[in-house]
Structure formats: C-alpha cells, structure tokens
C-alpha cells in the first residue's frame, strides 16, 4: 500500500482550541506533506484600526489574542510612544514587565495543560490548570481583570502595585514556584511524556533559521534570540539571559518553556525589588505623525507592529506580524515523516495561536 490519503486535521478538532485546518497527505501512517488552510478566525483588525481613535486602538490590540493580550498592548503603546516622543515613567516600565511576565506564565501553563491533554494525560492537564489559576487571581488582584487587563495605555499604565499587591505577588510566586517544581517532574521525567516528545518533530538549527522561526521554537533549536535582550520596557535593567536548548525536538521546546516559567518568576521578583517610585503615566497630547516598527517578545515569540500615523487621530496603517505566523513554516518542515498520531503533539509544540495569526 502506498496510496496517498488526505486527512483534514481541523478546523474542529479535539486537541485544537482554535480552528485551523492542516491538510495532511499521508502514505500509510506517515505524513508526506502538510498544507495549512487558514481564514477561519480572520476578522480584519488592521482595517478596523483605521476607523478608530489611536487611543481606542489599545483595546483592539488587546483583543488580537486573548492569551497574550497585555503584551500586544505593550507593543502597540511602545510604538505610539516612539512616534510621539513620549517618555514613559520608569515605574510604568517596570509594571509593564511584571504584567508581561504574568501573561507569559499563564500562557506557558495553559500551553502545558493543552499539551498534556494532547498526550491523553488529562489528570496532568487539570493539575496544571489548577496552578495556573493562581496567576489569574494575581492578575485580577493587581490589574483588575483575569484575562484581558486593559491596564496598559499610551503614556504608561493605569494601575499601580502597592505594598499589599507586592506582598500578594511575592506570596503567589512562592507558591507557584513550588507547584511548577511539582509539575515539572512528571512533565520532564515521565517515561510516557518522553516517549511522546524526545526526537519527535525534530528540526535542525539551520532549517529553523532558514524558515524564520521565533520564540521558544527557535530557542529550542539553539538560536539564542529573544527580544527581551534588546531591553525594551525595563528588561535592560533586569539582567535578562535567554533560555536556550539545542535538541530542536518537542522535548526541547518543553524544556525551554519550563525554564522560561522559572525565569519569569525570577524576573517578576527582580522587577518588584528594583521598581523605583515615580508616577505611573504621563499625559499624552496630540496625534501620532510618523512611522515606526515596534517589536516585543510574546510567550510564542517575537511580535512586530508596524504603525504609521499621518497627524490625524486615526492611524493610517497598522500591520502586525505575529509569532505563530513566523512559526508555521517551521511547523510545516517538522511534519513530513511524522506519524499521524504525533501530529497533534508536534502542532501544539509550537504553541499555535491562530487568533493572532489571522487577526
């Protein structure tokens, strides 16, 4: 038997939280090629922005993706601030780091849960999501909402973290660190998990670079590239070092994310410690006139915002290049040769966010 069978993987599929279709061409059980079929979540946000006030656009960018929403708004606000020459107060920069890192924590925990679920490891999924609730509670206590915070604004942030919030954050992080330690062992050392991830979906460093992968997908293949190295917001003052693994398989991507969670906890602690006292926002007057490119690191990789204003209150153009968009070519290189049963694990290992990709 060497007939080619085509299997539509998605758009409605148990392991996919979002609709995307991978049209898999199979020879027996082996994938020969994969073709992504997209457009199920396309809304047309980039056009919508042209009809809204540039301050209202912050809320739209938060809803590009509900998982890393705060980081999207940071990218947008930084871009507008660059165009308008606004100097953000230092405390606001630190607060942006803190909420960005809580978003990274909850995004990585969410991804772990989904990955565990894709192995059929449902108990682990439940345990991970139980730990994740602590981060959401922390976001609610400090920023006022569980998922979409709405705290970032052009010129700074809306809320401050006072002494109570600081104590709560530190206590939550201590507990979370213990939880992650308990969860990381079953994830990384379990025989079943290793059988499903070690050597699966392997991609070489050269091919990863060629395909332009970003974020944990690139770092798991040995490319030490993390936008936080550029020191945007307050990352330049927090002694940041990117997490790198070299194997390039699903297990390496798992390891990168486990280590990044611990790193995020450490970064929040450092940010709380070094946060100076200052106002948290500056008033912004006028309209953006000019263009810029704003890049920040999301849980999934680098996001690029291109913004152009022409002196009116609406932006003339906004273009978003999201990390999953950059990672899909790498995913398509990982899939050929894989068993059909491993396709869900490989697909999830890049942490696909279709809502970002299609905007």
């Amino acid at each position: 038997m060497s007939r080619i069978t085509v299997i539509p993987f998605g758009p409605q599929h148990p392991v996919l939280p979002e609709p995307i279709q991978l049209r898999l061409e199979l020879k027996d059980e082996k994938v020969v090629s994969a073709l992504p079929v997209v457009g199920y979540v396309h809304r047309g946000l980039e056009k919508l922005v042209e009809t809204k006030d540039y301050l209202q656009t912050v809320y739209i960018t938060e809803r590009v993706c509900g998982i890393c929403s705060f980081i999207h708004s940071v990218a947008y606000c930084q871009g507008i601030e660059t165009i308008m020459g606004v100097e953000v107060p230092p405390r606001a920069r630190y607060l942006r780091v803190i909420w960005s890192e809580t978003h990274r924590l909850h995004s990585h925990l969410l991804w772990f849960g989904l990955l565990a679920d894709s192995f059929g490891f449902e108990n682990l999924f439940m345990q991970i999501w139980r730990a994740r609730e602590a981060v959401l509670d922390l976001q609610e206590a400090t920023a006022g909402a569980r998922v979409i915070l709405g705290t970032c604004c052009v010129g700074g942030v809306r809320r401050d973290i006072d002494q109570t919030g600081r104590d709560l954050t530190l206590a939550t992080l201590d507990k979370l660190e213990q939880d992650i330690k308990k969860i990381a062992n079953p994830i990384l050392k379990d025989y079943g998990v290793q059988q499903r991830t070690v050597g699966i979906g392997r991609i070489s460093r050269e091919l990863t670079y060629e395909r332009g992968a970003v974020g944990p997908t690139a770092r798991a293949a040995g490319i030490a590239q993390d936008l936080r190295q550029t020191g945007y917001a307050a990352y330049g003052e927090l002694d940041f070092q990117p997490v790198v693994e070299t194997a390039g398989d699903c297990y390496a991507r798992l390891q990168v994310r486990v280590r990044e969670m611990n790193q995020s906890i450490e970064l929040i602690r450092r940010a709380l410690e070094r946060m100076p006292a200052s106002p948290i926002s500056v008033p912004v007057k006028g309209n953006p006139d000019g263009e810029t490119v704003s890049r920040v690191e999301q849980p999934r990789g680098e996001v690029i915002y291109y913004l152009r204003g022409n002196g009116g209150k609406n932006l003339a153009r906004m273009r978003i290049r999201t990390p999953t968009f950059a990672n899909i070519p790498a995913l398509l290189a990982m899939l050929p040769g894989a068993e059909l049963a491993n396709v869900p694990v490989i697909t999830l290992s890049i942490d696909p966010c279709i809502s970002c990709t299609e905007r």
Binding site: P11, Q12, H13, P14, V15, P17, E18, P19, G39, Y40, V41, H42, R43, G44, L45, K47, L48, T51, Y59, I60, R63, V64, C65, G66, I67, S69, L110, G113, F125, M126, Q127, W129, R130, R132, E133, L136, G144, A145, R146, V147, I148, C353, S355
Partner: protein
C-alpha cells in the same frame, strides 16, 4: 427522567474569538471552577454532545463550519453563546469580515455577556441551559434566547429605555 440534564456533554467551537472567552471556558472545566460537578464533560466530538458552546462571531468562512458542527450535534441540543462577540460581533462588529452574532447562523439558547465573561457567568449560563435542555427533551417548545439588552439593543428599540434582561437570556456579566 432527568438523565440527560445530569450528564450533559459539551463540545466547544471557537468561531471567530480572540481566545479570551475560550480560555475562560476551559478554566471553567478545571478544578477551581469545576463544571464537572454539574456533570458537564468537555468532549471533542460533536456527535457525542448535548451542549454546543460557541465563542466569537461568524465570518464568511466559518459560518458553514459552525452550521456543520451544529447539525452534527444530536437532538435535543442547546447552544450556549459565550462573550459579547456571539451576540453582536462585540469590539469586532465593524470589521469587514464579520457577519455579526452567531444567531445569524444557528438558534441560540443562552447568551453569556462579557468580554470575556467571568467563569462564574459562564457556569451560570451552562446551568441555565440545562433547564432548556430538559424542556426540549420533554418535547416543550423553547424559544431562542433574546440578546442581553445591556450589551445590545436592536436598532428599532434603540430609542426605547434600557429594560432589564429577561430571565434566561443573560448570565451575570463581568465588569461591563
């Protein structure tokens, strides 16, 4: 009697959502909120489901997929629409690719407002849907839900004062 309402299985379809509502719905299934205490089990196959949980609005491409998923859910079935996008399109209502709320494609039994709704509101919506599921099983006629009036007013009533939402059409919203 009441067997169905004690173990309703839910299938989730993300229509055009930003993921905010999806992760809140998934959070409802996990130990802190634990929808399973009402017997709700999340499954991937629409043919095994009683409740169709939809997030997000419809666009030209996924309207057909949503309809297909809805048809595959066996009768009696209820549709729970989570988030403001499902009733009007929400923040994306003005986008060129958005057709509007999912009620343009399938009948909706419970609207849960919020952007995103809190898990408590989602649980409330799911529990309300169980009563409708039981009524449908008993062969009673169940009217489709009205949209939550504090997030949406039909154009004809736009001038009329805001009335409290009718029972059964809205959960307690988040911080609107």
């Amino acid at each position: 009697m009441k067997v169905l309402a004690k173990s309703p299985w839910a299938v989730h379809f993300n229509c055009n959502s930003c993921n905010g509502c999806d992760i809140e719905f998934l959070a409802c299934l996990t130990p802190l909120y634990d929808l399973e205490r009402f017997g709700v089990l999340h499954i991937g196959n629409p043919k095994h489901a009683d409740i169709l949980v939809v997030t997000g609005s419809v666009n030209h491409r996924n309207a057909r997929v949503l309809e297909n998923v809805y048809i595959q859910v066996p009768d009696p079935k209820v549709v729970v629409a989570i988030g403001v996008c499902t009733s009007t399109g929400g923040i994306f209502a003005d986008c060129y690719n958005i057709l509007g709320g999912i009620d343009k494609v399938i009948p909706v039994d419970v609207f849960v407002p919020g952007c995103p709704p809190r898990p408590e509101a989602i649980i409330d919506g799911m529990v309300q849907s169980l009563a409708k599921l039981e009524a449908k099983r008993a062969g009673k006629k169940v009217e489709p839900a009205r949209k939550p009036t504090f997030t949406f007013r039909p154009p004809a009533e736009a001038e009329a004062p805001v009335t409290p939402s009718p029972a059964g059409s809205a959960g307690r919203g988040g911080k609107e």
